[in-house]
Amino acid sequence: MSGHNPGLDMTTLSALSEPNRKHIVELLRDGPLTVGEIADKLGIRQPQASKHLKVLSDNGIVEVKAEANRRFYKLRPEPFHSLDSWVNSFRRIWEERYDNLENYLRELQSKEPLPHPNNNPNEEDLQ
């Protein structure tokens, strides 16, 4: 399955598992904010907010954009795309498997039809 894994990075997951950082990501969904605004909204000190932003930035989850003399933090879409792709590739792999299974079951049953699903002590014979 790793052949179908488009670069999901576990550090993305672990960086988001800290509650304050998750909060920051949720706040930034509504648009870019400065570190001061983030600290205010979360009710934490600015140095703490900076520390969390650094972890998020190191993991490629947020980026800084300078505007006039202020620095705005905003979300980068890439890590979320790769999480999204992971979920979708998982689903697609199973869908392809199930298509195969459906066809295989048809093949098996056309060779040797079962008398009745609930009354078939000798189903080992199907092998």
Partner: protein, 172 residues
């Protein structure tokens, strides 16, 4: 060819549920998952074959398999081997079984860098000779999955397949 569409939804924020109905009795569908000779015939996704599949079907037992890409049209994936390792947890034949799915190598060493997934498969006898298979996959990080969902990036799952292809190309 196939009439029974797959249905998917998310439960409890971190469980991805896939459902599909098969035209076969429950015991037979269950058997498809526990016997290597059967699994080898369908376990590989499109273009992928299963040259190796060993199973010790009991709680704590190991399921070790290799999927190999045999489709030249899949570009860099062609010839690639992908090893997986499942560790069975609970088995209640023919109703359900659960396992943890890991990425591994040919020796069965687990790759800790890639996410493990807890999977529960439930086989529901619908009568009339059909079986509903419910696949519940619990993600390592529910928060992360919820964040993705919240950000509205899962809308129209089928549409995003095209983007997946792009992501796969980009990831090469």
């Amino acid at each position: 060819m196939t009439n029974n569409a797959i249905v998917s939804r998310v439960e409890n924020e971190n469980v991805l549920v896939l459902e599909r109905v098969f035209t076969a009795p429950r015991e037979l569908v269950f058997k498809m998952f526990k016997e290597p000779e059967h699994l080898k015939r369908w376990w590989g996704p499109r273009g992928w074959e299963v040259p190796v599949c060993t199973i010790d079907f009991r709680p704590g037992g190991i399921w070790h398999y290799c999927m190999k890409c045999m489709d030249q049209n899949q570009g860099d994936f062609y010839g690639m081997e992908s090893w997986g390792k499942g560790v069975y947890k609970e088995i209640d034949e023919p109703n359900s079984f659960s396992y943890t799915d890991y990425f591994s190598d040919a020796e069965g060493n687990i790759n800790e860098e890639l996410p493990a997934t807890d999977i529960v498969l439930e086989f529901v006898d619908l009568g009339d000779g059909t079986t509903k298979l419910v696949n519940r996959a619990v993600y390592a990080s529910g928060d992360a999955l919820k964040t993705v969902m919240d950000m509205g990036m899962l809308q129209g799952i089928s549409e995003t397949w095209d983007r997946l292809e792009e992501a796969l190309q980009a990831a090469k």
